[in-house]
């Protein structure tokens, strides 16, 4: 995993509540056995028409989305399935953070494991950001994970919460699996003390 560094970016507004993972990446694209190519399929059914041509009125197809690294979405972003293809598609498109008032649990966990930062802001800030980008499509904010601050134009700072462990992993570019593997002794001790309730190889 790459280290997560402070960055500034325009916001791509998608003012819809409860955006589910089937919208982020439709199920028919999950037949893949790799991670490649998912960025092109991000929000596919909102992004392309029946012939597969980009819909000009959809925000991701507009020039302002080019190079932007922050998605500004409605409440409860990422509800639905556990597919990690959702954060894979978002990061492949170029997003490094999503701002909402709340995130679905599984999506949040998956996002953090892929260096995509879910930023939860209070409803007033959320509404204000939508208004700001409405007035000025080039409106930029800065994401500072180390200090857990969203820095708005003019220098005003908005604090956000993030799981301290996930934060550390992202800042240092560490995979969780490495951390777990270091606990081999603990795992072995647990196994010795707890006989397995099943054996899928027998039965």
């Amino acid at each position: 995993m790459k280290k997560f560094e402070t960055f500034s970016s325009r916001l791509v507004p998608l003012p819809v509540d409860n955006i589910d993972t089937d919208q982020i990446i439709p199920a028919r694209f999950l037949k893949t056995i790799s991670k490649a190519g998912l960025g092109d399929q991000l929000f596919y059914d909102w992004r392309y028409d029946a012939e597969g041509n980009p819909k000009p009125d959809f925000i991701l197809n507009q020039p302002r989305a080019k190079g932007a690294a922050i998605l500004l979405a409605g409440d409860n972003f990422g509800c639905g399935s556990s597919r990690e293809h959702a954060p894979w598609a978002l990061t492949q498109f170029g997003f490094r953070a999503v701002i909402s008032t709340s995130f679905a649990d599984i999506f949040k966990g998956n996002a953090l494991k892929n260096s995509l930062l879910p930023i939860e802001v209070p409803a007033e800030i959320h509404a204000e950001l939508f208004q700001k980008v409405d007035e000025n499509p080039d409106y930029e904010v800065t994401v500072d994970l180390a200090r857990q601050k969203l820095v708005l134009a003019g220098g005003r700072e908005v604090h956000f919460d993030v799981d301290p462990f996930a934060k550390q992993c992202m800042l240092e570019g560490i995979d969780e699996i490495g951390w777990i593997l270091k606990h081999e002794d603990d795992i072995r001790a647990y196994e010795a003390a707890h006989p397995a309730p099943i054996n899928t190889l027998a039965g």
Partner: protein, 468 residues
């Protein structure tokens, strides 16, 4: 005296491997279920890191999501799906994981085959790269969906890093009336608390109406916990649970069985244990439920009108409702009853077990599917398919003009070729009505098997109580 604990805390505490300041808890996983869609990249990760599967004896696989439900004598027509299924079987063989492949007589939906084979047992931790893993909570297991990175973590270490969830008590009082089912309980709960209402929590369903449910019905309730945002939902085990499990393939046998039952009896929540949140549903007051919108929280009693965006105060919420009604091409303020439909789908890990098929057959028996309707009946597993055929249910479905298909996820997720055409309306017993979930441009009404079967007969949305 020890602090009274909920069943959720008891299962959690029993699985703590390591607690370290600054990190989530490392917990042990008793059962890991894998399927073809969310595992390939995890197996690839193991290869890249040179890791093995730590506990193949606690792991079990099946093919379901992109698996066709056409006769098994046919090859998988879609080359991408075929590659995925073949790769899955290859991965399982390479890493020594027991599994039901495409041609296995045990094959079925991952959340159906676990319980069916006695793999899911009370007090266990169960995970799967699938959000409906909550289904297994019906047995008093702490069962939740995980992403592909975590699938890799569990394959490699049998452990997961997790923050302790909050406990959310859902009490269902009273008794269900005829024609009202377990599916209606859960749709009513999601409509009440919303699709984000359970975020960060595990539900414990309790109360007399839950106790009265069979295991299959309990699985239907727990299955959709995720649709209210809760990663897991569970029900304390009781005699109904033990009776269901006894004699199943992987259930304990002989003296082990007796010892297990003694352990399981200690799981229910202690008197006086505290919950972080609670709510209740009155089963006496429930009617058959149906969704009208594009998330499972947009549900109403079948006789009620579709809500109007004007009545919604919050701006974004109002826009979302407007957008949903536009997608569904529905007029606010009018009931759904009588609205013509094109497809009925009876299946999915929510409602594809014997009780569901029997309920649908009860409505379809001696009746015909309306000529404007395509009705698919998709059993949850091969054993269910055989059992239904032994009971003659397949004849009832076929005589009515419904399609009787092979086991799999099918039109629940529309990855396998079973899908809606753009603009079509379906009444589905599955669990998600998101835009395009059942096929691009398709429109889904979620309901119980009784309500779905009634719609198939009527050719439009109908009240099942009139056909019983």
């Amino acid at each position: 005296m020890p602090q009274p604990r909920t069943i959720i805390e008891k299962v959690w505490d029993a699985h703590v491997v390591k607690e370290e300041p600054g990190a989530p808890t490392l917990i042990y996983i008793d059962l890991h279920l894998v399927h073809e869609v969310t595992s390939p990249q995890a197996f690839e990760g193991l290869r890249e890191r040179g890791l093995k599967v730590r506990r193949p004896d606690l792991t079990f696989g099946t093919t379901d999501h992109s698996t066709p439900t056409t006769p098994r004598s046919l090859p998988i027509a879609d080359p991408v799906a075929r590659t995925q299924v073949e790769q899955f079987e290859k991965n399982c063989r390479e890493f020594g994981i027991p599994h039901f492949g495409f041609h296995s007589d045990g094959q079925g939906i991952v959340h159906v085959i676990g319980p069916e084979n006695g793999l899911t047992q009370p007090g266990m931790t169960v995970v799967c790269g699938d959000s409906h893993t909550a289904t297994h909570g019906a047995f008093g297991a702490l069962a939740f969906g995980i992403g592909t990175s975590q699938v890799e973590h569990v394959l490699a270490t049998q452990c997961l890093l997790q923050r302790k969830p909050k406990a959310y008590k859902v009490e269902v009082t009273g008794r269900l009336k005829p024609g009202v089912t377990a599916k209606d309980i859960i749709l009513a709960l999601i409509a009440k608390i919303g699709v984000g209402g359970g975020t960060g929590c595990v539900f414990e369903y309790c109360g007399p109406a839950i106790r009265a449910l069979s295991m299959e019905e309990r699985m239907t309730v727990c299955n959709m916990s995720i649709e209210a945002g809760a990663r897991a939902g569970l029900i304390a085990p009781d005699e109904t649970t033990f009776e269901y499990l006894h004699g199943r393939r992987f259930a304990p046998k002989g003296a082990d069985w007796d010892a297990a039952v003694e352990r399981w009896k200690k799981l229910p929540t202690d008197e006086g244990a505290a919950y972080d949140k609670q709510t209740s549903i009155d089963a006496d007051a429930l009617e058959p439920m149906i969704t009208y919108g594009t998330n499972p929280g947009m549900g109403i009693p079948i006789t009620a009108p579709v809500p109007s965006p004007e009545e919604v105060g919050d701006l974004l919420e109002r826009d979302s409702l407007k957008k949903a009604l536009e997608y569904m091409a529905l007029e606010p303020g009018r009931p759904l009853l009588g609205r013509p439909i094109d497809v009925v789908f009876i299946g999915s890990c929510t409602n594809s077990r014997m009780a569901d098929l029997r309920a649908a057959a009860e409505v379809l028996k001696g009746r015909k599917v309306a000529p404007n309707v395509r009705c698919l009946v998709v059993p949850g597993s091969q054993p269910i398919k055989r059992q239904a055929e032994a009971e003659g249910l397949d004849r009832i479905f076929k005589d009515a003009g419904a399609e009787w298909r092979e086991a799999g996820c099918s039109m629940c997720i529309a990855m396998n070729g079973d899908q809606l055409n753009p603009g079509q309306y379906a009444v589905s017993t599955s669990n998600r009505n998101f835009e395009g979930r059942q096929g691009k441009g398709g429109r889904t009404f979620l309901a119980s098997p009784l309500t779905a079967a009634a719609a198939a007969v009527a050719g439009k949305i109908a009240d099942p109580r009139e056909l019983l």
